[in-house]
Amino acid sequence: MKKFLGILVTLVLLYILTSIIGDNFLSAYNQEQLLKRTALYGLLAIGVSFVIITGGIDLSIGSVVCLVGCGVPWLITQHQWPPVMAVIAAFLVAMMIGLWHGFLITKVKLQPFVVTLCGLLMYRGATRGFTEDKTQGFGITHSELRELATGKLQLTEQFGLPVPFLLLLIAGAFAWIFLNKTVWGRYLFALGNNEEAARLSGIHTDRMVTLSYVICSSLAALGGLLFILDGNSAQPSDFGNFYELYAIAAAVLGGCSLRGGSGTVIGVVIGAAVMQVLKNMINLADWLKSHLEFLVVGGVLLVAVIADELVKRRVRK
């Protein structure tokens, strides 16, 4: 609890602040949007937090989102694949990407930053290649499939929980159990803290690191799928641009240290929510110009990280 108390307080305060300054903040429509966007980015953030816990980084998330987001409609509409097959193929490719990253990092001993930076360039490049740079989408077809992202679990007449948010809760629960209750979760924390000591304790560190990249890419694929099902239009040249940075920012806000070894799923999800509430605030507050969005988000992130560091330093003393 204490690990994410800070960010939880931040979220609650931001939430209250925004509901005061933004007229329509509490409208059902806006709350649904907020939950849906938190869910989409939250899934990516949970994925990257696995990698960050091992002390690694994955910069290719946005490009995997692009690959899946453009690839799935491309397979379905241009090549008439059954949707189920296309989705399975997307996840298989994402897992292969994770395995490939893991192989390069653990066996060839390349740095995660470099490996995934190349991935960032390659997967987007490949997507632009096979789609011939054309915008992908489902048009007005496949609305049943799109329910996965656009559907709602109606709670009241006006308000419903978006399906992606339910998916986030499920994925979050699995991630939480994995990290806190299983042997593998313990191994991830151990090796993120001290890979050499973990290896000396008989842990298959290489396999565990690879697993974290597979999880990260798979969740990026799930995110990419939901993004395209929701948005229905993906330009290969910029679909998912910078999403890895949003995911990393949410993970860091949620208490993951880029040095590895720490992080909580709940904190990361709250971190993703904070980013979305912030953006929402910028949108709703008329005196905040929307092109200042990056400035505000970056500034708040920096303040949060500084505060976190100061608190930790005090605890250490």
Partner: protein
Amino acid sequence: MKIVIITAVFLGTFLFTGCGEKKDQPETYALVPPSVSNFWEICRKGGADAAVELGVEFEFVTPESITDQKVKVEDLLSKGVQGIAIAPGDPANQTGLINDVASRVPLVTVDTDAPESQRKVFIGIDNYEAGWLAGDLVREAAPEGGEVVIFIGNISQLNSRQRRQGLIDNLVGREKDSSRYDVPGEVVKGDRYSILDTLLDGVDAPKAKANAADALTKHQNLSVMVGLFDYNAGQILEELKQANKVGEIQIVSFDEHANTLAGIKEGSIYGTVVQNPYQYGYQAVKMLHRLSEGDHSAIPENGVIEIPARIIKKDHVEEFQRDLETKLAN
């Protein structure tokens, strides 16, 4: 335990959901273009002028990409605007989004249409026809024929793809068919003109300039370079000046970028096809206001308000520019 608390916090807030009621203030109408450029600046001016005339608020929101366009539109709905004009970047796939918006507030499309959707009105030109017009300019500029290279921001947007296709189809003398598509990079040959390549820059001006340079290096016998996004011709001209090839190779432009107009004035750009973005913005806000007041009489039968494209060449460029400046000044 922790999860229970979090869930409680989240769900607790929903109890207040729907409490925020809109306060009394003038109606707000918004216009969402697909990208940022001079062209849309002029359009914004038109919208703003209309809003002043009507005594309403006008908001102009620029997204970073087509994907972001959806986010921006949703943001506007969150804020509670009374009408939205959108220039859809990907109309085929944005039909759902447009319908969703149209079910909540009055909506018109500008510049690019989404004919399948439930939009009330489309205000703009036919991009295929406009591209065809640019083809006419090329024919005038290089009546002997020759090699042509096309420069464009992207062709993932339907309007830019059609614009390019209209140009190509005109030059190689095909029947008009706006659903045709030639893959960039493949040479399209007609009797007199052959289109060697289409270079994309992702709406990135420095990249556009580099593309022009690449084309000059690769193709030694170019007759005409056509820039189909507003900044393209200016970038091509810069490169031609540096390569000392002004006059040797003709430039045909699209839209009324300041550099384009300056180029036409000094004679280094042959001509440009202009739309009337000012009118797009102006008419869109006027239309949205009437719709929001419940006045549906202004909707034309076919749902299209066409604002025709024009050709601007050296002879009347100054007059055109003066007109533009007066519009932008106040």
